[in-house]
Structure formats: C-alpha cells, structure tokens
Amino acid sequence: MAVAEGPEPGAQTGRARRVLGSPSLRLAGRRLLAAILVLWGVTFLTYVVMNLLPGDAAQELLGANATPAEVHQLEVQLHLNEPFWVRYGQWLGDAFHGSLGTSVVNGENVTTILGTRLPVTAELLLYAFVGSIAFGVAVAVLGSRRPNGVADRLSMIVSMTGLSIAPYVLALVLIYLFAVRLPWFPAIGYTSLTADPFQNIRSLTLPAVAIGFPLFSIYTRLLRADIVEQMQREDYIVTARAKGVPPWRVLLRHALPNSLFGLITLVALNLGALVGAVAIIEPIFSLPGVGAILIQSINDHDVPVVEGIVVFFGAVVVVANLLADLLYTALDPRIRYERAAS
C-alpha cells in the first residue's frame, strides 16, 4: 500500500537540487541580459530627449547676446556640431571604458562631480528607504493583528495623510514646524558623515522624512491589505489556527512571508520615482547631492552630466529589480524547486 509517490528513492537530495539549480541559472542570465538592455535603453532615450530639446549647451553658456558665429565657434570646440550618432557612439564608447565624459558647462570630469555628490544623495536615499520600509512593515503588522481596531484605524489615517501630501509641501511644512518654530533640525545645509555623524543625521532627517513618509504610507497600506487578505482568505491560515498556533505566530510566520511579494514589487517599482523626489527635495534643503544639479544641468544642456546621473539612477533601478527577483526566489520555494511528480 505504501506506493512510492514522488521522486524515485534513488535520486540523491543535494545533487538533485544543484542540478535543478541550473535552469534558474539560465533564467538569471536572461534576466541580467534584459536588465542591461533596459539600462542601455534608458541612456539612449535620455540622449535622444536631450538632443531633441531646442538650443544647446553652447547657446546656454554664451547667453542670449552671443552672435551666431561665437556660438558656432564654441560648438565646434565642444564637439557639439557632430551628428547625433557620432556623439552618442562616442559617449557610449567612453562609458564602456569607464569614463563618463566632462561637463560641458565647467569642464569638470563627470565622474568627479558624481563622486562628490553621489554619497550625499545615496545616504539620503538609504535613510529614507530603510526608514520607510522598517516603519512600513512594523505598522502594517501591528495594524493587521486586529483589522479595523484602534491601531489599524490610526495607521490608516496616518498613511492616508502620507499618500495625499506632496513631498515638497511636506518638506516645507516640516521646515516650518521643526526648523523655524522648533529649532530641532537645521532648515538647510549638510554636514558630512565623516565630519560629524550626529550633525550628519540631523541635517538629513527632515529631507529623509519628506521623501520617506509618502513611501512609508504606500508600503504600509499595501502590506496591511495583503496580510489581511492572507489571514482571511487563505486555507493554510485556517490550518495553522486549527493546529493551535498562537495568533502572533500565525501572523508573523505564516501570513507575513506570503504577503511580502507585493511589497517587494512595489518597492522596486517606486525606485524610479526617487530621482524626481531627490531633484525636488535636495534644493529645498540645500543638500549638495546629484538631485540639486539635475535640473540645472537640464537647463544648461549639460548632456554628459545629465547622462551620468541618469545612468546612475537607471542602474539603481535595474539592480533593485534584479534583487527583487532574487528575493522572490529566496522567499518562494515554488520558484526555487521544480515540481515533483503528479
């Protein structure tokens, strides 16, 4: 009666799994290729857009009073008169060799510019990112323990506020309340991490909240909805309760891991919007990050700088999406292992 159901007893455990791993390796390879393609697409699209804009860097640099001859001369000097494909090809070639070109505006090496400014932006984004996810998960878990209870309703109100408020509005309100009225945080300015860690955190807190609070709101709403849905609709939750598992464990060990997929997708999706948030928030707080110069560079037609920034953010998004895929695989064993017989 004990019919052998499932894989043959002869196959060995560890090796079988490793062999099964190689289709997923091929899958990872395909994903990587797609990611590189997307990244390339992003740079190309940026170049196209920048070139479609009327006027050019030479015009911007010399101002409105320049004669056409002067403009033309500068254009030749800056290689701006060469056809689009040549310029793009050159940029792409340089990029593969690790050089991102020089700023048209001030001749500085783009890599240097990014090198000094990226750490600021990166730290700000990390601060906002970690905070929004940590609080998002915590609040969602607390709320879903008792749907429509006190904690839940409160978190819904708070997150609804976060969804409805514009980051720039929030930034100004925060400045008014916590920098002008209550001198807890500096309104503008940045202190680097190496110079003074405490001041560093202080100078980045308000901007991080301005960026992170709307994110937190989206995350907590989605996660809470997913958890509640798992707890109410899924059969394995009933099984867990029928076993006598305590409610907190049912929530944290059963419902939560199965609810994270939506959140991971959303986080990866939202990263692209971060560049916009940074571009608006950094100038408000006078932070010397990449966001602060993005708009100015677009205005100045400083294509290499714009491209450099776009490449960075594009890479971040692409890497994040790859990481998200990896996380799916790690969390969901159905993706990891192929199905057994029947």
Partner: protein
C-alpha cells in the same frame, strides 16, 4: 473551504462583527459618508474653481496692484490676503485649481486610454507583443521620468498642454502595468476561454469581457492617479517648469511662498492646504469606491 465563507461577508469588510441593528445602521452611515463626503468635497471644489469666477466677480488673479502687496488673510476684499506682487490669493487659488483639475484629468485620461490599451494588448495576446510592450514599459518605468517630464516641459516651453503630455510619461506605464496584470489574471479564467473557443474575435473579447472586468480596478487606480498627477503638476510648477508665472498654479504659489516661509507662512500653507485636501479627497473616494466595488 474558505471559498464558502467569504461569500457570506461583504467584500472588503474585514471580519468584525456588526450584529446589533443599531451598530449596523451606524456602519451603513459611515460607509455612505466615506463615499459621499469626499465626493461632495470634490464637487464643491470643481464648482468653486470652474463656476465661481464666472458667476461672481473675483479680483483678477494676475493683475494685482503692487500697492496691495503682501496683505495678510482676512483683509477687507482679500479673504486670503495677497501675494508679494499684489495678486489676490483667493482668486489665484480658484484659477490654480482649474489648472490642477485640468491637468489631473487630462493626464489620467491619456494614461487610461494609451496605457490601458497597451496593457490589455500585452496581457491578452502575449508573445512578441507582450515582450515588446513590457520592455517598453520597463524602460519608461526605469527611466527617471521626471527628467523626461522636465525636459519636455523645458524644451517645449512651459504651458499647460505640454505639462499634460510630459506627465503622461508617468501615467501610461503605471496604468499599462496594472492593465496587463489584470488582463493576464483574467485570461486564465474559464469564461474567457469559453469566449475564445466560441470563435469570438480578439477585439470583441476584449471589449465585451476584458474591459468590463478590469474596469473597476483601473478606475480606482486612476482616481489615485489623478491625485498623483495634481501633485506632479504642482512639482513642475514648483520648479518653475510648469505653468509659467504670473499665471496661477498651486505649485508655483507654494514655491513663491517659500521665500517668506518664516514671516508669512500662510502663502505656503493656504495653497498647500487646498492641494492636500483635494488629493486627500481623491484618495478617500478611490478607497470608498474600491470598497463598494469589491476591487482588490
């Protein structure tokens, strides 16, 4: 077996007991309020912004006299005061609101139509079409769309129509992804298979079966999208790349007020309040509709 029980519960109702008739009546009132409250506010705002200036004369929003610059709220004749150039804040709020709603609806409409069609096509036909469209949407999503929006707005010159096109770069891929996902989920269902087996042509299936079923999801998502579009229009105007001064836009009003934040915060707070209230109402309405239509 859980399939049996949720049919007995109202969709979207977390399972809390509302047994006594009084409690249930209260819950019914609360539910109605959640829908009609925000809806009512939005109607009010729309009426105020579009209707009031045509019915009742308001001070000109752009040709204020410098002699009346910087008046505080509740000054005679200027209920919200005036800005540093002398324009009446109240009328600028109304006209700015017009811009916000026009941009919000415009962007969302374009997103729904273009994004919706692309997403449905990708989800329904799959294969090459899906791959191409998905990659395209991926690029648009990975692309710092703000750069594109800024570039468009800056390059084409700031104007309302250009802002709408620029912001559609956001709404199209967002709606497209949702539409594609919803269509894919629907495609697996038996009645779609039945329709296709009966020989119904592709577009017919889409129009008659796919659209009605994904419409609630898309509509509630789009309501949220209107709010996002309004905020983004504000952002562009805040950066000086949206609606050009001296025309009124809530975003540029906020940017202007930034300079006098400590001294007269109301120049920032008043347009911010309206912006917040409008977007909040849109979000609340979207939530209430989602609850009523049983959308996930």
């Amino acid at each position: 077996m859980s399939a049996l029980l949720p049919d007995l519960l109202a969709p979207g109702d977390p399972a809390d007991a509302k047994r006594e008739p009084r409690a249930r009546a209260r819950a019914g009132w609360a539910r109605a309020l959640r829908l009609w409250g925000p809806a009512g506010f939005l109607v009010l705002m729309l009426a105020a912004c579009f209707g009031w200036p045509n019915i009742y004369p308001v001070p000109n929003p752009v040709r204020g006299s410098v002699l009346q610059a910087g008046l505080p709220p509740l000054s005679p004749g200027h209920i919200f005061g005036t800005d540093p150039v002398g324009n009446d804040v109240f009328s600028r709020i109304l006209y700015g609101g017009q811009i916000s709603f026009e941009v919000g609806f415009g962007v969302t409409a374009i997103g729904l139509v273009v994004g919706g069609l692309l997403g449905m096509a990708a989800g329904y036909w799959g294969g090459a079409a899906d791959t191409i469209i998905s990659r395209l949407l991926d690029v648009l999503i990975a692309f710092p769309a703000l750069v594109l929006a800024l570039a468009i707005a800056e390059g084409l010159g700031p104007s309302e129509v250009h802002v709408i096109w620029a912001l559609s770069v956001f709404s199209i891929p967002a709606v497209g992804r949702i539409a594609r996902g919803a269509t894919l989920a629907l495609r697996g269902q038996t009645f779609i298979l039945a329709a296709r087996l009966s020989g119904t042509r592709g577009w017919r299936v889409i129009v008659r079966h796919v659209i009605p079923n994904i419409a609630p999801q898309l509509m509630t998502f789009s309501l949220l999208g209107i709010g996002v579009a309004i905020i983004l229009e504000g952002a562009l105007s805040f950066l000086g790349l949206g609606i050009p001064l001296p025309e009124a836009s809530w975003g540029s009003m906020i940017a202007q007020g930034q300079q006098t934040l400590s001294a007269s915060p109301d120049l920032v707070l008043i347009p911010s309040a309206f912006l917040f209230a409008t977007v909040l109402s849109l979000n609340l309405l979207g939530d209430a509709l989602r609850e009523r239509w049983g959308v996930r």
